[in-house]
Amino acid sequence: MPITVKYFASLREHMGREQDLLPAAEATTVAEVWHRVSDGQVLPENTLSAVNMEYVTATHPVRDGDEVAFFPPVTGG
């Protein structure tokens, strides 16, 4: 199962796409997923991340089939 990586709002525009599919891989982390999808760009300051729709930090593990998301500070309500 591939890893799905989603981008929202200004980060989606910055990436120029809504999502990536990463091939199934060894166990990894959120920071490593960002490194792979961004060609080594620095993660923009204040970026939030989620794994399987729960907030996590950059060191959180990512497993095959997980959904990882990156997005800017939220502004709902």
Partner: protein, 145 residues
């Protein structure tokens, strides 16, 4: 406990009436209802705003709002909660968010309602892009209140 994320304009007062009629237990059980409605203003951070697009994270948004409601139920003696939030294109004057809490007594209702809107604004995955007279801008962060 109900969470609705909707792509069309909604009437918050009708949503409350409908929830009271369909989802709440017997009349006479609750003595206090506290409600907050956030409406789109036509002015924000020094500029006229013509319209807005609200983006969200389908799936995570609902999950996050449901976990907030569950936490409110744990922390206060409340009977029920209702959260409705718009996404998509919004015009000035249209409601964006409704938060309501029903309780036996007013302090629990007020505190749960306030908790829900503060948590929602700080953590629920929504993003606002404003259309100004000239051009667009993403809202960088929510004002403190």
């Amino acid at each position: 406990m109900a969470v609705q994320v909707c792509g069309e304009p909604f009437d918050p007062w009708q949503a409350i009436q409908s929830h009271q009629q369909n989802a709440l237990g017997r009349l006479g059980e609750y003595g206090a209802t506290a409600v907050f409605v956030g409406t789109m203003r036509d002015f924000n951070e020094g500029a006229q705003v013509r319209a807005m697009v609200l983006e969200h994270y389908p799936g995570m948004t609902e999950k996050h709002l449901e976990s907030l409601c569950a936490e409110a139920q744990r922390r206060w003696e409340i009977i029920d909660t209702l959260v409705v939030h718009r996404y998509g294109s919004v015009e000035p004057g249209e409601p964006i968010v409704l938060v309501a809490a029903w309780a036996g007594h007013r302090t629990a209702a007020f505190d749960a309602c306030r908790f829900l809107i503060e948590e929602l604004k700080s953590r629920a995955p929504f993003w606002k892009k404003e259309a100004l007279a000239h051009g667009e801008r993403w809202v960088g962060r929510n004002s403190p209140g």
